[in-house]
Every structure is written in C-alpha cells, then in structure tokens.
Amino acid sequence: MSKTSLPDGQNLAFLRGLTQPRLSRGEFMRGAAASLAAMALGGARQADAAAVTDWNGWWEAQKPTNEFIFANWPLYIDVTSDGKDHPSLDAFTKQTGISVTYDEVIQDDPSFYAKVAPVLKSGQPTGYDMMVITDGWYLTELLLQKFLVPLWREKVPNFDKNAGNSVKNPSYDPGNKHTMVWQSGLTGIGYNPKLTKREITSLEDLWDPAFAGHIGMFSDTNELGSFGMLKLGINPTTSTPADWTKAAAVLRDQKDKKLVRQYYDQSYINALENGDIWITMAWSGDIYQANSKGYKDLKFVVPKEGCSIWHDNMCIPVGAKNPLSALAWMNYYYTPEAAGVIEDYVNYICPVPAAKDYILSVIKDPDVANSPLVFPPESEFAKTHEFRAFKNYAEYKAWVNTFSPIVQG
C-alpha cells in the first residue's frame, strides 16, 4: 500500500466512516486533576485484588453477570446517525442478555493512566470492566504492576479462530495473556504534493534539505525514536540501547541541519493543512480525516523502509466486577459480523480479516472493505514494526533520556 489512492470524495458511506475516527491519540495538555492524581506516589499498593495469585481459581469463582462497563476513547465505535445508539452494543445485549454501559472517558493514555493508577494502587476497583490502552509505556506499566487480569482464553475461542496474524502474540504481551487488540493504526508519512512538488516514497525524504524548515516530526519519543531506527534499517521492536544511540544521532543531525520545523503532537495535522509543513510523520487516520474535511491534496504513504504500527488493546483491570461479561464481549467482538459493523464506522486497521467479506457482502461498503489501510494485505504487514516494549522503568528512562533531549533542545 505504499501509494494509497484516495477514495472518490463523493462516496458518502466511506466519508462518514473516515470523518469520524476517534480523537487523535496524541497528548493533550492535561489538567491539574490528572497531575494531582499522578502525584499519588508510592504508598501501599497491590492490596486485595492485585494480590490474587491463582487466577484459574479466581476465574472459576466468578459468577456470570448481566452487566458490562466499557471505557473507550471518543468516537471509537459505531453509532447511529442520531448519535444515541451503538448498534453493535445493542446486538451484543440482545444476543447475551448483558447490558452495556459504554463510557467515552479515555482522551489519551497518560492522563487515563493517571486517573486509574492511584485507584488500582490502593487496591480499589476502577469501576470499569474493560478499558482500551495503547501499546507503550503506560500499558507496560499496568502489566508490570499486575493491574491487568490474565484472560481466561478458553472463553474467547473466536480470537484464535478469527484474529489476524498482526494482532496475535504481540511483542508487549506475548501470547495475548492480558490483552486483545481493539484497533491498530499506522505511523507513516503525510505530505502535500503541491508543496513537495514530487511523490514521496522513502524515509530519506524526511531528511531532504530541499524541504528544510518544512519537515514535521513527532514529539512522542516512541514514535520519533522508532523512525530514526527505521531510517537506519534497524527494527525498532528488537532494538538495543546501542541502536537507540545511533538513531538519536541521525535525528540530532536532522535537527542540527535545521530540517525540522517542529516536533509535533496531534497538532501536526493543522500545520500540514495550512502549509507550515510540507512533509511529516503522520497517522493514517488523520490524513483521511483531513481529506474529507476538504484538504484533498494531502497524501499518506507507507515509506518503502517500513513504518510503525500501534495497537489499542482491550484489557480487564483488576477489581473488575463483571469479568465474565468482558470476556463475552471480547469473544463477540472477534466475529466477522461484530468487527465488520464496528469497522465500517471506525476505519483504522481491523483485527479480524474475515470482517472484510462481511463488509463487502452484507454491509455493501466496498470502499472500506477494499481499502488497503483498513485491511492491509499480509505482505504490507511485513513492513510494519511494533514499538519497543520496555522491560522495566530503567529501560524506559534510558530510552527517554536518549530521545527527549532531541525534542527539547
């Protein structure tokens, strides 16, 4: 999919899907409340629920409930045109008798983590049965502290049956012991061909002096560091601290030569739209959204050297009151029907490849079904790389100390 042709702007079904992805997962300026929550340091942690060691026994002791509380990001599930109902959730309730409370409370990972971590540390239930967390330090932090319930995989047979290879056995959660992917997405290159005056195919273009002062890079150190390594032909997922130093050197060079306009969070898309930057690191969904807003020139490309793939993961926090309902939901989501209905609306990368046929033959929305960005062919997945999963805080801090000074210089 190195060059994705954009869909005909007249196709309303497609545009509806593209104009309504969830909000950018970048980092917002976070409120004081979150900062205070994050200050809850040390203290007694891992009380009651987290102290469980025999998870098989714990699962056996759970009773089925008819309730399910689901914390997700905004605009990240199908919704009827009046904005009131979620057909996929209603169908789930009809099928299983479990009523769903759907909360769009996650704006970004750090602030949501800051909200739930103090609660989990004190051993209290968060009030959620399922939350959706992006792979990265905050998910690792939840895993390291044993704040996520190991899944009872026998209750989710549809995962093994229908999940795509790209979401099986991810580097950050080997064997899918604690998480199952909700949606994935790509970090590639976004550009405005009118300003670059040529097609972009390679990461080298982000280092092209011809674009000096009009190149955008991401301020998120995970994203930035991974691109530095991809440029050097290093696989970020398996990289070592020595590789990080090498990547930091090329990124530093890019900055010192005054090529970079700014290190952006989600605001890069505005800078690309109004012409401040010509070429930038970009999330595929944002470029589509810009296209449907009227910025039809902008293009997204997966560079030939490869790109980053991120996953948003469903997981069950310890202390969840309705864990069996959460498993039932996971099992339901990993069917072509449910995944298809949601995918036709959300349009990131679908974790259930068989949903493609469902969208094609039942929903009859060929633009989504045939989009190489929603259902990338296996050959394209080979070019995508997951972020480096950190083993502990020291490793994360070493990574941050390597790449943060570039952003902050």
Binding site: E27, M29, R30, A34, S35, A38, M39, L41, G42, G43, R45, P110, W137, E141, L144, Q145, G213, D220, T221, K255, V260, R261, Q262, Y263, S267, N270, A271, N274, G275, D276, N392, Y393, A394, K397, V400, S404, P405, V407, Q408, G409
Partner: protein, 286 residues
C-alpha cells in the same frame, strides 16, 4: 494578663494568614523539595533520601533551557514595559472620564482563554496564513519566510499575553501621582522631558517593580507560548518540566528543575530589588 494578651494579639490576628501560607505554600514547597531529593521509580514508589543527582543532571542536561527561559523572560518583560508604559500613562493622565472604559477594553481579550488566544496567534502567523500569505502573494517577502517556530514568535506571544498585567500596576502607580508635583516641576522650569524622567518615572517605580514581578516571573516559567508558537530550539524550562512530569513520569527530575527555577527567580528578584533599592521603591510608594 491583659498585657500578655495585648502582646500576643497581633500574632493571633495573623494566625489565619500563617495557616494559609503553611497549607498552600510551605507544605507543597517542602514536598516538592523532598521529591526532588528522593530515590525510586514510579512503579515501586519513592523513598526520601538526600540524593542530589537530579539537580546535577538537571543542570548539566538543561542549563541551555534555563538560560533561554531567563533571556526570553527578560526580553519580553522589557518589551512589554516599553509598550505598556505609554498606554498606562495615557490612560492615567489623558483618559479623562473614560478611564475605566479604556481599562476594560484592555482586559477584554482576557475573557478568552489563554490557550485559545495563543492558538489564534498560531493561526494568524502561519506560513500561508492571513499575514504572511498576503505578503507572500504580493511578492513582498520570500516564499520561505516563517515567523512561527522562531524565538521571536515565542517572545511575541509572551509580550502579548503579559501586556495587561503590566498596564494595570503601572496605571495604579501613575494614577496616584499628585498632579501638583508635576506642576511644581514645571513651575521650577523643568522641561516636559525632565519632568517626565526626574519626577514621573521615579514616582511610578512601584508600578514598574510590581509589573516586573508579575510579568517576569510568569514569563520565565511559561511553557504554553513555546509549546504552540515555538519550534526546535525554543524549548523553555517550563516545557522540560511539563514533559518530565507528564510524559516521562520523571517526578524527581521535574521537582528538581522546579526548585532550581524557583531559586533562580528569587535570586533575580533579589538582584532587581537590590539594584533599584526596595527602600526607594517603598519611599516613593508611601
């Protein structure tokens, strides 16, 4: 007994202020210093210790950001003073009956949130935007010119956002000046220029000092302008603290940098007061 209570009365009366200061200033300050010296990580918690390594790391890694922040703070404060003084002077001396209207107009933009105002400047100053786009299409400036992502965009943003905070104390100081003193200077054959520099400016010194405190201290620690209007090479120390705290979970480093910033600001204010003399300022104020 009566003498005793009279002796203690002022202290008892100041008790609420002391309680307030303790709860909202001393305790947070103490916990910040404690955290700066602590060892540990966000997973296992922190234990108190006397580990000064975050201070030395903060200094060695981020001294450039400290210097930059004080430079931006000083330049923006001086520019703000130069712009604000004539405004305040005009309102105080020639505002007539409409003084409060003018002051109201001055604070009117502040009814819009800080962040939104800065974002508006980002929009106005963008490369193909209203200002630069027009100039470029007229061929008056080269196509590659940009203002955003430069230090002048950041300093400009700081000046814009602190203008009202400087005009207000200046206005109060100028308003209080006894007009008969100015007339006396004229009667004693002072030219308007001499009357201004020898009488009006010294008499408005408390306003200059108060405005300096408000504007300089806020601007040195600001991170929003650099975040939105700046680019690589314009990062201020406030941005580093914000990143360390929120993104990197490096709480001790953030606390150490905050403590250092606070200390340096106190030194700067002390030097200012020393140079211009708090006594003189108080004399004029009295």
């Amino acid at each position: 007994m009566r003498r005793l209570s009279r002796h203690f009365a002022p202290y008892l009366l100041s008790l609420p202020s002391w309680a307030y200061l303790t709860v909202f200033f001393v305790i947070p300050l103490g916990s910040m210093l404690g955290l700066a010296l602590a060892t540990g990580d966000p997973l296992d918690g922190y234990v108190a210790s006397d580990n000064f390594s975050e201070f030395s790391l903060g200094f060695s890694q981020y001294h450039a950001e400290f210097v930059r922040s004080f430079f931006y703070g000083a330049v923006s404060t001086v520019i703000t003073l130069v712009i604000a003084y004539p405004v305040a002077y005009w309102i105080a001396f020639y505002g007539g009956r409409n003084k409060s209207t003018y002051l109201f107009l001055l604070v009117l933009p502040f009814f819009v949130t800080f962040v939104i105002r800065v974002l508006a400047w980002e929009f106005i100053l963008s490369d193909e935007g209203f200002v630069l786009g027009t100039l470029k299409s007229l061929g008056l400036i080269p196509q590659t010119t940009h203002i955003l992502s430069t230090q002048w965009a950041v300093i400009g943003g700081l000046v814009y956002n602190s203008l009202a905070y400087y005009v207000m104390p200046l206005y109060v100081a100028l308003e209080k000046i006894d007009r008969r003193v100015v007339r006396a200077a004229n009667d004693l054959y002072a030219t308007p220029r001499v009357a201004f520099t020898r009488v009006i400016i010294p008499l408005s010194a408390p306003g200059i000092f108060a405005g300096f405190l408000l504007v300089f201290v806020t601007n040195v620690g600001d991170f929003v302008n650099a975040y939105i209007l700046g680019g690589p090479g314009t990062y201020m120390i406030g941005n580093v603290i914000q990143d360390s705290f929120f993104d990197n979970q490096d709480y001790p480093l953030a606390a150490a940098l905050s403590s250092m910033l606070m200390f340096l600001l106190m030194v700067a204010i002390f030097l200012y007061a020393k140079t211009f003399g708090t006594d003189t300022i108080q004399d004029y104020a009295a």
